[in-house]
Symmetry: C2
Subunit: 146 residues, 2 copies
């Protein structure tokens, strides 16, 4: 696998807001929140732009609606990412190792936490945890391939 490519691509993202909270755990969580929140907001912006172009009408009301949706979805994506990044960091510190199992455990814990925050069904929380763990593991494997 090409090791060298990681270091080149690490320099690439232009969005780089660095906020030092004085704690690596908090730093990562806030970083994840801001970056992925921005991606979520951009996604909504792209969707709404497409919608406007498609229907051909732009009104002040629509713009306000789009902005609200951007903030809402950006905050949601950011929260999910912040929780996940924080969890993976925590699991890494507890396990003392850095491998794909961190992503699996971190994903499962985040899935359970986020699911538990929005509903109280025990079964649903466990199923969401399994799904989130599997998705996180899949994403971790895809990293090695791309």
């Amino acid at each position: 696998m090409p090791h060298g490519r990681f270091s080149t691509s690490l320099c690439s993202p232009k969005i780089d807001v660095v906020i030092d909270m004085g704690n690596p755990f908090l730093n990562r969580t806030v970083d994840g929140f801001l970056k992925i929140g921005a991606v979520g907001a951009c996604k909504v912006a792209a969707e709404e732009t497409f919608e406007c172009l498609h229907r051909g009408d732009v009104s002040k009301h629509k713009l306000e609606h789009a902005l609200k949706k951007m903030c809402k979805e950006g905050a949601y994506w950011g929260t999910v990412a912040g929780v996940y990044v924080g969890m993976v960091y925590g699991v890494e510190r507890v396990r003392g190792r850095s491998d794909w199992k961190n992503a699996m455990i971190g994903g499962a814990l985040s899935g359970a936490l986020i699911s538990g925050a929005s509903n109280n069904h025990k079964d649903k929380i466990i199923k969401d945890a399994i799904t989130a763990g599997a998705v996180a593991t899949a994403v971790e494997f895809i990293n090695y391939l791309t």
Copy 2:
């Protein structure tokens, strides 16, 4: 960001089926299909095991159903991953650079392709492409953070 950790985690996954198709594009696609397909199948296995333990009954019929679902979902996850990994590789070769935009473009193209294969609504295909591109970008950013 800790560069060193990438090289340690690269050695970790125990599942390592290497099939040489004689072409890096095909190699990556097949690798993605097999690895993520396995993750998808494991996810269904975990879900079904939880279901069985929860209800407390295991029958031959249920086992057959679970196996079928594992194959079906594994194939779906594998196909999505294979298409994505192949797309990212193709975009990387065409652009000649390796950064997060590859993930965005590859994600959007894969989303459009997979959505186009399952439905014919032009609007839905574009929206799916936007969503897939955003998710791929988010995942790429999360890589740098974990």
